[in-house]
Structure formats: C-alpha cells, structure tokens
C-alpha cells in the first residue's frame, strides 16, 4: 500500500520528473501525428490508385488490339469466373490533344481511352471524379446545359449555355470581320479609284490579325492529315446547337495551377466543357495513319493523382473503335486493347493474375497481365518504407527521453536516500522499495504517454486548422496543394497503432527506472539513515 501512496505522492510533488517525461509526451504525440498522417496519406493513395485502376488489367500491346473481347471474357470467366465481380473493355491509344486558346494551339500528349461508360464504372471509380454532379451518378458523353462546379474558384462558366453564347459571339465576330473586310476593300477601291473587284485572298489574311480567335484550328493543323469530319454530325455544323463526339479530359491536360501575388493557388483553364478540341491518333491498320478528329469537351476528370489527371482523356468506346477502324466491316467483331477486371471482396489478386498468365502466356500473347498493386508497387513500397523509418527515428527519440528519465530517477533516489533508510527501518523490504520506483516510472510513463496520446489525437483532429495557423505565422505553405492535390491533410487514427505507441513509451519509461530502482533497493539502511 505504501508503494502506491508514495509513488502517487512523488508524482504530485516531483515536478522535475514530470519535466523529464515531457520528452516522452512529445515523442508519443509526434509518433501519433506522424503515423496517422502517413496512414491517412497512404490510405488516400491506395484509395485513389485502386479507384483508378481496376483490380486486374490485361493489356494487349498490339496496335490493333485483341479481337473479339467477348470470347476473351468468356475464357476468363471459365478460368476464374467465381472470383470476378465485374469487367470492362476499353481501347487505349496514345494521341495528341490540341486545344485552341486565344488563337494559339496548345498541344498535349494524352492517353486516349475509349470506355464503355456503364461497365467502366463497375471496375474502377470513374464517375465520382467528374466535375458535373449528374455525371458522377451516370456518365454521359453529351454536353450538359450547365451546373458544372461553378462554386470552384476560378472555374469558368461552362456547358451548353456557354457554348451557345460563345458560338453566337463567334458568329458575331465573324460577321463583324466580314463587314470590316468589306469596308476596307471598299475604302481601298475608293482610294485607288479602281472599280469594285473581288479579292477573296484578303479576307483570309485579315482573319487571324484580330485578337479573339476562337476555334480556328483549321489553319494550324498541317495539310495532308485526313480530316475525318464530324463523325455523324450534319453536313452543316452549327456550334450553337450541335456538338462533336464528347470527350472527358483529365483536368491537368487543360489547366495549370499557379500562385498569384498573394500566394493563393489558382487554376487556369485552357478549355472548358463546351469547347471543341482536336485529337490526333493512329488508326488500327497495319500501316497506321493519323486520324484527326474534333471532339467537344463534355466534362473534366479530377482524381487528384497528377499522373492520371495529366495524361488521360476519355471518349466513347464505340466511337473510338469506329474512328480507329477496330470494327470488322464484314463480321462486325470489335477489338479492344485492354480488359479490366474487378474481383469479388477478399479474392486473391495474385492467384487470379497467375491463373490468367498461365492461360495467356506472355511468350505467345503480347498481353501484359498485372494487378493494380504491381502497377503502383514502387510508390506504395516507398510510402511504407517512409513510415517505417519515421517510426524507428521517433522511437529513438523516446529512447533518448528514457535516458533523461534514468538520470532524473537517479537524482530522485539520491534525494530520497534518507526516506529509503526510514522505510527499511520501518520494515520495508528491498523489493518493496524497488517497486516504489518501478511503479513510479510506470506511472510517469502512463501519465506522459497519456498526455501525449490526448495531445496527439487533439492535434490530428485539428491538423488542418493548425496547418493554416502555421501558414499564417510563417507565411510558408505547410501542405502545398499545387504539389499534393489534397485540399485537406488526410489522417487515420488506427487504434492498434495508438496501443503499441503507448505500450512502447510506457515500456521505455519503466525500463529507464529499473537501474535507479535497483540502486534504491540495494541501499544499506544504516548508510541511508546517516545520509545528510
């Protein structure tokens, strides 16, 4: 009983020991914060990577793709059908994106993906990353009237409304240009005194000198590339009422983030839903030719992974197959380049992959069969390694704190020498005296890491507020959204992590008190009583 009473009293009266435990508190709090931020970060990465890539991807490297995807799917179902929860086929083709921006052509390499909107959402998260709220529910490649994320700062007005206004203005400009050209011709004729004569060349040269250009891609695209026309669009294309085939662009292919003078991050968009863009990609024949096709942007895709956002553009699968000539004109069989599979909950990814590899051996087929983990392995491993190293380093900090506790405890034992003598004179055993200091160390460890736990959890809960306060004080952005694509710092508090951090810190504090406690226990009562 006296042990408990005494160690509680020591806890209340020895502030020096509490000071020595502060380092444990800080260490525990830091560990908790670091672990929950890393866990949040890594979970976010997993979520995004997995959301974008389906569980298993079968890619065909041939330019013409694999013919008859249905037969392939039947074969896959025969092999691992019990593990498959969903599947989707798509066509991937490298292409060049051309955006007309204030009369200039902006080009960008993109990975053009033809998807079946309905099945594609089954194998990976696609719809949820689109900007238009209705597209999040069900994807369509038709331009929406309006309602794109206009609340977003810097996001321009988009949709049919914009397209109509824009087309009307474009027509007005065109009319005005014609009128000015007419007038200047008239003026020239009057000045020279020559009779009226048509000179259509001058109209051509006048056009581009006017600042606001609009879609004038025709002049920029080199001659000789086959103009595919507007698909099934009417002969006379009116931008006010018609659209080209729809395309969904990755947000980073048509925008950039930059910082204004005040240091706020702003997005600048080169094009927006409602604008027309041009894409050039090879067709699927043995002697590939470039297909040059106009599309209308119907939505933007923002996953938060710059790798995806800056390289992907999505169109309808059947349209892309048509443009590339991947539909056999006689039999009507289609070809695809990629099959994506989603597995049931708890399925063994690697086992399914290996089974498929056995059926489609890479020696025979130009297929690459990978799980999403294979594709993102190095990134995930890097995050794991970082977490491990941080944990080791921080535990070393707590271990250093343990030496502080050791020193402080030796001081306390020396200071309490006479009391130790008194206790022994009153009949306390050596192990009793030892357990006073051991339980004192345990108690300090519990208090220190408990305060650290509470502090760490509080910090994690308010981490975004804290980050903004730090930003205000230092003027330095803690979590740069231009780099991380997260608007908030993601955190996850894992109870298991909390438990082992606590246990580790308490164990270190208790271990540090073992030596001083042994010293106290071995103290000779007579020497202790005489101690001045």
């Amino acid at each position: 009983m006296y042990r408990l009473l005494l160690c509680f009293r020591y806890l209340r009266t020895r502030y020096i020991a509490l000071a020595s435990i502060i380092s444990v508190t800080l260490g525990v709090a830091t560990l908790i914060v670091v672990n929950s931020v890393m866990a949040g970060f890594s979970a976010e990465m997993h979520e995004r990577l997995h959301g974008l890539a389906s569980d298993i991807v079968i890619e065909c490297h041939a330019s013409g793709g694999m013919p008859d995807p249905d037969a392939h799917l039947d074969e896959i179902n025969r092999i691992v059908g019990d593990q498959i929860a969903g599947s989707s086929v798509s066509v991937h083709v490298p292409s060049m994106l051309g955006i007309d921006f204030n009369g200039q052509l902006i080009t960008h390499h993109v990975n053009l993906v033809g998807i079946d909107a309905e099945t594609y959402d089954n194998v990976s998260h696609f719809g949820r990353y689109l900007l238009h709220p209705d597209n999040k529910e069900s994807v369509t490649f038709d331009l929406r009237e309006d309602g794109y994320e206009e609340s977003r700062e810097g996001f321009p007005h988009s949709g049919w409304k914009y397209r109509r206004d824009h087309a009307r203005m474009e027509k007005a400009w065109e009319a005005e240009r014609k009128r000015i050209a007419e007038l200047s011709r008239e003026a020239a004729r009057l000045a020279s005194g020559k009779p009226q004569k048509d000179s259509p060349e001058m109209v051509e040269s006048d056009g581009p000198t006017i600042g606001f250009g609009g879609p004038t891609l025709g002049t920029v695209v080199p001659e000789g590339i086959r103009e595919e026309g507007a698909g099934d669009s009417p002969v006379y294309f009116d931008a006010e009422t018609d659209q080209y085939p729809g395309i969904i662009l990755g947000i980073a292919t048509c925008s950039n983030k930059s910082r204004d003078a005040e240091g706020n991050v702003r997005d600048h968009y080169y094009c927006r839903p409602g604008d027309d863009v041009r894409l050039m990609f090879p067709n699927a024949s043995d002697k590939p030719k470039v297909v040059n096709q106009k599309f209308t942007v119907v939505d933007l895709y923002e996953s938060g992974m710059s790798e995806y956002d800056s390289t992907f553009a999505f169109v309808r699968l059947d349209q892309l197959q048509d443009f590339r000539g991947m539909i056999d004109p006689i039999s009507g069989t289609t070809s695809v380049t990629t099959i994506q599979l989603k597995l049931i909950e708890g399925a063994d990814l690697n086992a399914v992959r290996d089974a498929l590899r056995q059926r489609f051996p890479p020696d025979t087929y130009a297929y690459s069969i990978q799980t999403w983990r294979d594709m993102q392995g190095p990134l995930l491993a890097a995050v794991r390694l970082e977490t491990t190293i941080l944990n080791i380093l921080l535990f070393l900090i707590i271990a250093v704190a343990g030496f502080g506790i050791l020193a402080t405890f030796f001081m306390i034992v020396v200071e309490k020498t006479r009391d130790i003598g008194t206790l022994k004179a009153l009949g306390a055993s050596g192990s009793g005296v030892m357990s006073i200091f051991l339980s004192y160390g345990l108690l300090l460890g519990i208090v220190g890491s408990g305060v650290g736990l509470i502090g760490g959890i509080a910090f994690v809960h308010n981490i975004n507020d804290i980050a903004s306060v730090i930003e205000k004080i230092t003027g330095q952005e803690v979590f740069d959204p231009t780099v991380y694509y997260f608007t908030e710092i993601p955190t996850i508090l894992n109870p298991f992590t909390l438990a082992w951090v606590m246990a580790g810190a308490i164990a270190i504090a208790t271990t540090a008190s073992v030596l001083p406690a042994i010293r106290a226990a071995r103290m000779h009562p007579v020497a202790a009583l005489r101690f001045e």
Binding site: M1, T13, R418, T422, A425, L426, G430, P525, L529
Partner: protein, 255 residues
C-alpha cells in the same frame, strides 16, 4: 552476563568493525548487555563510542561481525531478511534523533506507514477503518490529534518527534529503541518528550532502550550503561588499557 528470563533484548559478545582502505576500524569490541522487560534503560557515551552502531545491530539494521542478538528468547541477527524486516516492522519501534518522517505524507499517514508496509493493498483497504482509528488513538496519545493532516514541514521538531513516537507505537511493540530522541531539541521540548517516554514505559509497560550522550537524561532511566571505545564501562578497564597500548604502538610505528 545476564541470563535471567526477564531479559527482553540481549546482546552477546557483539563485535563490529568498519573497513576503510584495508585498515580495520573496530567500533564494537565485544559487548554483552541485556535489557530487562518493562524497564527504561539508557546507553550513554560520547560521540564515536559505538552506541549508535550498537543500536543499529539491536534493530537488525546491520549485522555484527560476531556475537548474537536475542529478542524475547530467540536469536534474531541470523534470521532471514524477511524475518528481520518483520521484526523491525511489528515487534519493535524505533525513533531517531532526526525524526525521519516521510516528508510527502501527513502526520496520520506517517503513523500508518508501518501498517501499510505490513499489508498488501487489499489487506490495507480491508482494515482501513480500524487502522485509522488506531492511528488516531496513537496521535491522541502524543497529543497531536488536531494536527493529523499536517505535513511534517508544517510542524516543530518536538511535534515531529511526537509523531515519530506515535508511528513507533502503531504496531503495539514490546520494545522501543530510541536513538538520541532529544538530541535535536531544546531542553524544555526534550523534557516533554522524555516524560512522554517515561509515561509510555509506566502505563504500557513498554521496554525502552534510549541512547544519549547527555548524562542528565541518562539519569532519568531505570538503568544506565556507559559505553566507551566500543566497550561497556563496567568491564571495560582491561580492554581500554589494551586499546591505549595499541594506539601507543601505532604512534611508535608512525614515528
């Protein structure tokens, strides 16, 4: 040598030396002494005469190089550590010149300390009420019931010594060892402590062994033993001579 059955505590041929750099410093050189049950005895001697060392041996805080300590008809100095802890905790009470109260505990907690040391947490909680009553009775006995929740730092020396006496009485011991109980107090306060001890001796028939360097205090005891150079003075004459001749020898060697 006393061998009457009334002896409560007895030292037989106690020798004790301290070693410092291979030089042997004899402190006790064969002490035979017995303390009669119910008596208040005094051990008088100058500083360095070995009386404190003798008391530590009698309290089993230290072990003699040779000789035996007998308590209530049983040898105790060669007992196990646990047995000796129990002897100090429950069978005797000890008070010190510097009181040795635990500064973190209040007066009543200090009085309860021996009871807490003897019991486990559960045992203590079970007997809590009766122990508290006894501790209050002990504090009342020394006239400090009203100060039971004061810390030692809030008390005077005389009050602290009275708390220490209350603590030593907690286990209802047969014997009280007092090491210079008035050594740190002024004459008047010392006198009240002494009269308290005397009262305990008379009323509770508590055997008291008191160590002091003050002859006037020693004279109040029933029996008085004088110590000089590690020997009792009654039979110390020969040994004292030896000692003197020894030191003379040492001097010649040194010269």
């Amino acid at each position: 040598m006393h061998s009457s059955p009334e002896l409560l505590l007895e030292a037989r041929g106690i020798r004790k030396s301290y070693h410092k750099d291979k030089i042997e410093l004899p402190i006790l050189r064969g002490i035979d002494v017995g303390f009669v049950t119910g008596e208040m005895s005094a051990l008088v001697g100058r500083s360095g005469s070995g009386k404190s060392t003798l008391m530590h041996l009698l309290a089993t805080l230290d072990q003699p190089d040779s000789g035996e300590v007998w308590f209530d008809g049983a040898r105790i100095d060669n007992q196990s550590r646990a047995r000796r802890d129990h002897y100090r905790n429950s069978q005797i009470g000890i008070i010190f010149q510097f009181y040795h109260l635990l500064p973190e505990l209040s007066a009543i907690e200090n009085v309860l300390a021996p009871a807490m040391i003897r019991r486990s947490v559960l045992g203590y909680l079970r007997d809590r009420k009766s122990l508290r009553l006894r501790a209050e009775a002990m504090l009342d006995r020394v006239g400090l019931l009203t100060r039971s929740h004061h810390q030692p730092s809030e008390m005077s020396g005389g009050e602290m010594q009275r708390v220490a006496i209350a603590r030593s009485l907690m286990s209802d011991p047969k014997l009280l060892l007092a090491d210079e109980p008035t050594g740190n107090l002024d004459t008047e306060t010392g006198a009240t402590i002494l009269s308290l001890l005397r009262e305990l001796n008379r009323e509770d028939e508590l055997t008291i062994v008191m160590i002091t360097h003050d002859d006037s205090i020693a004279e109040t005891a029933d029996r008085c033993y004088r110590m000089c150079d590690g020997l009792l003075e009654d039979n110390a004459s020969d040994a004292a001579k030896n000692s003197r001749s020894n030191s003379a020898k040492l001097e010649t060697v040194a010269a």
